[in-house]
Structure formats: C-alpha cells, structure tokens
C-alpha cells in the first residue's frame, strides 16, 4: 500500500459532501470487512460506525436479494432526530453518512453518485500487495 490516495484527498471529498448537502453532519468511509478508512466525524465513534456499516450493508443486500426488489441502492435509517445512510463505494468500501432531522435527502441523492465516483477513483490506486 504505497501509492494510494492520501487521507487529505479522501477527507476532502467527505467534507465537500457535508458542504454541498444541507443536514449532513458526519461521515465515515470504511471497508466491507468493517475497518475504518477515513472519517469526518464530530461525536460518533468512527470505528464503531465502520463495523456497523459493514453489517448494515451486508444484511440489507441479503434483504434486497430475498425480497426480489432489485439491486440495493442505499440503506436509509430514519430516526427520531436524524438519518443514517449507508451506500456502497465500489466493491470494497462503504460510505456512511449521518444527518440531522432536516437532512436534504433529495440533494443527497443528487450529490452522492458524484461523491461515490470520486471516492472510487481515489481508492482505485489501492492494490493488493
């Protein structure tokens, strides 16, 4: 793991998402096996979110499969005072975004494909070795 994208690049992509979508408060990029990659967080414990994101996406994929509703797009957890959204970034990473009650979900769905694409490109340099 030598020539991979810097933490600053990845954190920059996460903070840019927070700037562009009203209501996004924190985000965590993690691997599908639950390890933390980078985080733009304030209050949450990023390692715990990383572990739970892997479990959430895994279970949700199974549920999508079982219910025959097509490929999983994203997991939206709606809570009393906010939202948590988990989306896959490529094959091996996950993005978890936490937002408040006023999260602009329409804007998130508009902006997230670009963010996922940027992250995918930034992570493409990570090769096994």
């Amino acid at each position: 793991m030598t020539a991979h994208a810097s933490t600053e690049t990845l954190t920059g992509i996460l903070t840019s998402l927070r700037d562009r979508v009203l209501g996004v408060s924190e985000s965590v990029l993690s691997t599908v096996d639950g390890l933390l990659v980078v985080a733009d967080v304030d209050k949450v414990h990023p390692e715990s979110v990383a572990a739970l994101a892997a479990a959430t996406l895994g279970v949700s994929r199974r549920m999508a499969d079982q219910s025959g509703s097509g490929a999983l797009r994203e997991v939206v957890v709606r809570c009393g005072a906010g939202h948590v959204i988990v989306v896959a970034v490529g094959e091996r990473t996950l993005l978890t975004v936490m937002g408040d009650d006023g999260l602009d979900i329409a804007a998130f769905q508009r902006e997230s494909p670009a963010t996922v694409d940027q992250l995918t490109k930034a992570l493409a340099a990570d090769v096994a070795g």
């Binding site: 793991m1 991979h4 810097s6 933490t7 600053e8 990845l10 954190t11 920059g12 903070t15 927070r18 009203l22 209501g23 408060s25 691997t31 599908v32 096996d33 390890l35 933390l36 990659v37 980078v38 733009d40 304030d42 499969d65 079982q66 009393g80 005072a81 094959e91 091996r92 990473t93 408040d100 009650d101 006023g102 999260l103 602009d104 804007a107 992570l123 990570d126 090769v127 096994a128 070795g129």
Partner: protein
C-alpha cells in the same frame, strides 16, 4: 395547475391567498422547500434550511418521542394533530401556536437565504399547522426585515448562514467564560467549527434566525469566531484482502455463501446446494 404567472414566491403566495387556496407549493432550489397553505394562509413550511415545528418540539425535548408517536398514531390526519396534542395535555394551545407560527416565519427566512427555483402546486399534504396560519404579506415583510437586519449587523445573510462558528478557547477573555446567559452558553457549547447556524438550530431545536442573532452577539462578545477545520491522518488500504487459497474479491463471497438453503414442504432438513459442491 393555477397561478403559474407569478413573478416570485411572495407574489405567488399573495395570489393564492386571494384565491383562498388549500394545498401545497413545492419550491425547488437549494435547498428549496414545501409551503403548506390552508384557506390561503401559510400553515407550515418544510425546508432543509430550518427546523419545522415538529423538529423544534422533538429536538428540544419539549414533547417526548414516545408521546409524539402515540399522538401520531391516534390522529392520522396531521392537520388535526395540534388539537390532539393539546387535548392530550402535551402542550398548551398558546405555546403550540407560538412554536408553529415562529417555525413558519423561520422557514420563510431560511428559504429566502438562497435564490428559489421553480415551483409547482399540489394537493393538501397533512402536516402540523399554525392556526389560523400566517398571511403571506406580513410573512414577506418580516422576511425582508430579517435579512436587512442581519446584513446591517454583519454583512450578507447568506454568508453568515454558510459560516461555521467555533468557540473561542481563550479563557483569559472576560466574555468567553462566565457572564453568558444559559441560552448563549448552550449555543457556545454546541458550536464546534463544523456546524453552520442551520446545523446548530437543528441540534438545539431552535429557530435559525434566533440562532443567527445569538451568534452575532456571541461573536461581538468574543465567545465564538467563524472558521473551518480539517483533520488529516494515515489510513489503511482498501485493496482486496486476499485469502491464502483464492483470488476472488473479498466483497462477494458468493461461491460459498450463495443463496440461502431452501426449505421444501415435507422436505425435512435442508440439504440443497449449501457449500457442498463437487462432493467435498
């Protein structure tokens, strides 16, 4: 639908007021919002830019979440939820009116901070309402007054809304320690250089405009300042984790996991294709 010719949103609302329109105006834009009209009056505004009355009541803890869910279950038409909340003794009629009306003004103010896009008119959508609602003209006038006041106090209101205030840690400064009201203290504690005034409003369950005024005051007192921050550090690789024997992607362990074993009627124990390929 109707009234597509209005010049701007206030003019549209004024025209709908004269018609006595009941329904919803969806305004696109960043962030845009949804304006709920009842008999021509604005009963509620939902926008990602400012907390609704519901957000305010729940985030501040004024109404407890379980009681709220119970009230929603008992009164499926949210237009009448206000009566139910009062009847259940969760909140007084006067307080509810103040909260809901303030949320309408706050929502209009938040939507006015960025240029609105197009709009469309749709049917009534049930929501928690200010009663009897706010006439569009005073609403537009108050919004203009608020933006003018903020501009006079601290420059363009839009810039103020995008700022991220951080508490000043300088303990030597006389104003940054004690001497703040509990409301100001709470706001300084919530400000962390990441949250915009809008984020603080949602976090504390307060109005956006009130939070912005408080922040201007706190900045003058030297208790907060505007800034952004970044935290870079090392990270692990996201490259595929190669198990010793195989080179397939770690993401889809489909070879073994495959579809779940199926139960068949009268079939007893599932044997199926559960990882027992090629006579292992």
């Amino acid at each position: 639908m109707k009234t597509p010719s209005a010049r701007n949103v206030p003019a549209l609302l004024q025209a709908l007021h004269q018609e006595g329109f009941t329904g919803t105006v969806r305004v696109s834009g960043a962030p845009g919002g949804t304006i709920h009209l009842r008999d021509g009056r604005v009963g509620a505004i939902e926008t990602p830019g400012a907390p609704t009355a519901t957000s305010t009541l729940l985030a501040s803890g004024r109404i407890d979440d379980d009681a709220w869910l119970a009230a929603c279950a008992a009164e499926p038409d949210a237009d009448r939820l206000g009566h139910h909340l009062e009847a259940a003794g969760l909140i007084g009629a006067a307080e509810l009116e103040v909260v809901c009306t303030a949320a309408v003004y706050d929502g209009a103010f938040a939507m006015a901070l960025s240029p609105p896009g197009d709009w469309e008119l749709t049917d009534r959508e049930p929501t928690l309402l200010a009663r009897p609602g706010v006439d569009p003209r005073p609403l537009a006038e108050e919004t203009t007054r608020r933006i003018a006041l903020l501009s006079r106090l601290r420059g363009p209101a839009g810039d103020l809304a995008r700022g991220r205030p951080a508490p000043v840690v300088d303990r030597a400064h006389p104003a940054s320690g004690g001497g703040l009201t509990p409301r100001h203290r709470e706001l300084v504690d919530s400000a962390n250089g990441r949250r915009t005034p809008r984020d603080l409003a949602f976090a504390r369950g307060r109005g956006l405009y009130a939070v912005m005024l408080d922040l201007i005051r706190l900045e003058a007192l030297g208790a907060v300042r505007w800034e952004t921050m970044t935290v870079p550090e090392g990270r692990p690789s996201t490259a595929p984790r190669l198990p010793p024997q195989t080179a397939t992607s770690a993401d889809e362990p489909s070879q073994r996991a495959g579809p779940l074993p199926r139960r068949r009627p009268g079939g007893g124990f599932p044997t199926g294709d559960f990882g027992a390929k090629d006579g292992e």
